[in-house]
């Protein structure tokens, strides 16, 4: 199912996107643990009139666990992972079409499904390096600083974030099969995912938002078993993947 030559080509073509995404995440993964002390001290000196903000600040200041989750898993990681998923996914098919190389690639003895699968696998591999690699960096810096962090739960939360990023990537890859320009595919995917984020703004509908789930709120805050959202992500990812394969297989070159 995976063609190694094509896999290597995909890694090479996406390396600049990967470096940029990983660099942004890595900078934050190093910076956030380092500024924990000064941030906590600074926030404790500010008087917040708004009660909900006060509660939030108290939550962050209560433990490093809370700080790490709120600043990494619930904020910077899903935001940048979303961006990385769109940037890496927008060129899956549209890149080959716009560079005029789709005909050359499709004329090789490989099925359209194998091409799509290999390209998606390479993209998801780079996305995993971005999300999980930077989280590991966060854990290492936290350990080096001697902060008490629930490492297992923290990494599992990042896996939940990654599952959401996989959906965004595969959705963007589907859009990549609809357009002939990667930028157009990226913009269309961004608009789609923006629309999909709307339930997150309403407390009752928030659990139905992908971005809410990517923050691992249910698991980290309420202690719920993540198997259901992860399983659901897997099913939706499968549907998005099949839709992408179907679209690409029907494309006349």
């Amino acid at each position: 199912m995976i063609n190694l030559a094509l896999f290597g080509k995909e890694l090479r073509e996406n390396r600049v996107k990967f470096y940029l995404c990983f660099l942004a995440l890595a900078v934050l993964a190093v910076l956030l643990p380092l500024i924990y002390g000064p941030t906590r001290d600074f926030l404790s000196k500010i008087i917040f009139l708004d009660e909900s903000i006060r509660r939030g600040i108290d939550f962050i200041g209560a433990s490093y666990n809370n700080y790490a989750w709120s600043q990494w898993t619930a904020k910077n990681l899903p935001q940048l992972a979303t961006l990385a998923a769109i940037v890496l996914g927008m060129g899956v098919i549209a890149g080959e079409i716009s560079y005029g190389t789709a005909l050359f690639l499709a004329s090789k003895p490989i099925t359209r499904r194998e091409i799509y699968t290999t390209k998606a696998a390479a993209g998801l591999f780079l996305l995993a390096l971005c999300v999980l690699g930077s989280t590991l960096l966060f854990v290492l810096v936290s350990a080096w600083k001697g902060f008490a962090l629930d490492y297992g739960a923290f990494i599992l939360s990042a896996v939940i974030t990654y599952a959401g990023a996989v959906l965004i990537y595969l959705g963007t890859a589907f859009f990549s099969g609809l357009f002939s320009e990667p930028v157009k595919a990226g913009v269309a995917a961004a608009l789609f995912w923006l629309a999909a984020s709307v339930p997150g703004y309403f407390p009752n509908a928030a659990p139905f938002s992908l971005f809410y789930q990517m923050k691992a709120v249910s698991y980290w805050v309420y202690g719920q078993n993540p198997i259901v959202p992860l399983g659901l992500s897997l099913v939706i990812a499968g549907l998005l993947y099949e839709a992408g394969v179907w679209l690409w297989s029907r494309r006349e070159l």
């Binding site: 560079y99 004329s107 003895p109």
Partner: protein
Amino acid sequence: MSLAVETWSLSKNFGGARVLHEISLAVPRGSVFALLGPNGSGKSTLLKLLIGLQSPSAGGGLCLGLDILTRAEEIREKAGYLSEEPRFYGYMTVRQLLRFTGGFYLRWDRELVERCLEQFALPPRAKVHELSQGMKNQLGLILALAPRPELLILDEPTTGFDPIKRRLFFSIIMQEVAARGVTVLMTSHHLDEVERSADHVALLRGGRLIHTGPMDALRGGTKEIRAVFQKDPPPELFEQPGVSRVEREGKGRAYRIFVTANLEEIWQACASQPHYALESIGPDLEEIFMRFIGEVKAND
């Protein structure tokens, strides 16, 4: 006769327009088969259908004995394809592109690759985007030949070539044909090269197959009488059965009479008219091509 390619009533629609009309083609194994026709006649589409790059709207076919609808990947393993003005990954070097492409095939003839690189004088370390279109076509031929294909499908392969490179290109193809019995199915606008290399021809126009057969039969089926008369010939001379077309050269009394039957009678009729010169010749492929296209145009 063993066939490398066989299609029956192969049709293709784009939107509401039919671009290929019930093409039934038979390409003998080991032949050099030229697919000729004006731009937009459906040649490239037909080639793409054969290796599963597009799906037919109706009809079907076999390529190397494999169904083009269900076994396209196996066909592509055994058939090398060079598209018109091929586009490769420009950031790769020639050597990297060769290595990348080799990763898709079970067989990859490195010795042939090195020999062809040398013959074409292609620099292995050059980036693909630095190559001219002609050099890209040469590289494309190497990529198509390296997996040792049984069938070579070439779509306008000599675009951007100078005559010397074109001759070299065809000589390499002919080496493969002679050495391994590779079947070549190609389109080309260079009819002189086609005439030198092809032994079978099919003519397409407007998506319809208007003629197919051996080159010799095509040539033999048509003769041309060139005559310079001393005075205007009677109109009935050109209305005899077997005269397919008459061209008057300039305003003089020089005529080109294309004959498909009754050559002897027409020759005698011409000879009976006072003339300065009279000769019978077999037309070249370009003339045959123009005649067929002209006839179809007239019938349209």
